[in-house]
């Protein structure tokens, strides 16, 4: 055991040393916002950032889970280990969910090189759960060579995967819409790679052509031109090698162009600000409920004597004074 590992909290050390049961339990604790996970997550951060995190996103029913299975197969044939997070929606009514991404996973009961975890979105918008980023990091710290994150079936504005993934694959199928759909903002803007799945269906060539035209109108601001790959759920070998080679090429582009560091700085700054905002928000909410002067402020807004913007100004000033 190296010194650095020995200094980790026991659960973190177990995760680094390959204890899958502790990994699974820690993921649950992270999902539940359980304080017992806090030290583990903090202590393992320095061990993340090594594996490519590949996002697989696209509308419901395009074959994301099947594609994930095919990619897992490809990676195992290359002798790479894989951690997978599959996100499915939670009910806005009951909070319950049916997590069915695992169903496409080929049987690998005795393969320690794959770890698959299903996750419910638990009310988060954007296509992933609030805990998905930290869970992907845990898998990274646990030593998996590649992390795959499959999003909820996404709509046009579900682009949260770009805050987590180093490479985002946007999956579509033939006949999703005409070429004007490809011009619209949102989902299609975040693609590092386009995947036309079910390429054996009629209309596949047109779908690829529409995407190719989109790419010629201008690639990503980084200068990367997203490749377009056709894959098939009927024959899961079609296009998978090419798809994975494109992921590798994109990861190399991120390193060579300096885009990885730029992207990381951007993503991490919004993560830090987001965490700080959550905490400040909770504190301000608690004060608003506790502090008599602030409760009177709220009374004033309820009575339409003070407007919410003015009240917010006062709350912020109050927060600054007392911090």
């Amino acid at each position: 055991m190296t010194g650095a590992v020995a200094r980790l909290p026991a659960a973190a050390r177990a995760i680094v040393e390959g204890d899958r049961r502790v990994l699974a339990r820690t993921i649950t604790a992270v999902e539940n916002g359980d304080p017992s996970a806090d030290r583990v997550v903090r202590s393992l951060y320095g061990r993340s950032g090594r594996a490519p995190v590949v996002g697989i996103t696209g509308p419901l029913g395009v074959g994301k889970s099947s594609l994930v299975n095919a990619i897992v197969g490809r990676l195992r044939s290359l002798d790479q280990t894989v951690g997978v997070v599959g996100v499915d929606p939670s009910s806005p009514f009951t909070g319950g969910s049916v997590l069915g991404d695992r169903i496409r996973l080929e049987r690998r009961a005795d393969d320690a090189g794959v770890f698959f975890r299903s996750m419910a979105s638990r009310g988060a918008a954007g296509g992933v759960a609030a805990a998905t980023r930290e869970v992907a990091r845990l898998l990274d710290a646990a030593g998996f060579d590649v992390i795959l994150v499959e999003t909820v079936g996404s709509g046009q504005v579900d682009v949260a995967i770009r805050d987590i993934a180093s490479t985002s694959i946007v999956v579509v199928v033939p006949h999703l819409g005409d070429e004007v759909q490809t011009l619209k903002a949102g989902l299609f803007e975040i693609a590092d790679i386009f995947c036309v799945n079910k390429v054996d269906l009629p209309g596949a060539e047109l779908a690829k052509k529409d995407l190719a035209e989109l790419v010629t109108l201008g690639g990503r601001p980084s200068g990367w031109a997203p490749p377009i790959v056709g894959t098939s759920t009927v024959d899961p070998t079609v296009g998978i090698e090419e798809l994975w080679n494109d992921v590798v090429a994109h990861e190399k582009f991120l390193d060579d162009s300096g885009e990885r560091t730029r992207g990381e700085r951007h993503r991490l700054s919004s993560e830090i600000v987001g965490l700080a905002r959550d905490r400040i928000g909770r504190e301000l909410m608690a004060r608003l409920e506790r502090d008599p002067a602030l409760r009177r402020l709220l009374d004033g807004v309820v009575a339409r004597q003070i407007d919410p913007r003015t009240a917010a100004d006062r709350l912020v000033r109050h927060g600054r004074r007392s911090s």
Partner: protein, 140 residues
């Protein structure tokens, strides 16, 4: 690490799987849907699972509860195997319940072996949901 159904009442996670070779999954789907509507997170593993796959999924997904559906008649071979794998690999026991066509005599033996509840045809969904809830909460 302690299991986490703490102050915030985190959702119960339950694995629903069909061991063995029969292809009749309507019962499993109806139960999955009912547990979902009761606010649980249901990992639906689907058809034709081996005991090894079921146990692996239960541990990776860190479920509070496992529900098995079987209509093939192979329950006396498959269920004890699942229970013994869980004991070998699991550490803490995860409660297992089952549903399907299971003769009373077999059901008695299986309960003795550690299957916590067995539901035959005609059981109401309310009964399945409330049993699942109490099994999961008791183990938490």
């Amino acid at each position: 690490m302690p299991r986490a159904h703490g102050a915030k009442r985190s959702p119960i996670r339950v694995l629903i799987a069909k061991p063995g070779l029969d292809g009749h999954d309507r019962g499993a789907k109806v139960v999955a849907r009912a547990l979902r509507d009761a606010g649980m997170e249901v990992i639906y593993a689907g058809l034709r699972q081996t005991p090894e796959e079921i146990v692996r999924a239960a541990l990776e997904e860190d479920v509070d509860l496992i529900g098995l559906s079987i209509l093939s008649g192979a329950h006396m071979a498959l269920f004890p195997r699942i229970l013994s794998l869980l004991k070998e690999q699991g550490g803490e026991p995860i409660p297992v319940f089952a549903g399907g066509i299971i003769p009373d005599e077999d059901a008695r033996k299986l309960k003795k072996a550690g299957i916590r509840a067995i539901f035959g045809p005609g059981t109401s969904l309310e009964e399945i949901v409330s049993t699942a809830q109490s099994l999961a909460r008791r183990s938490a």
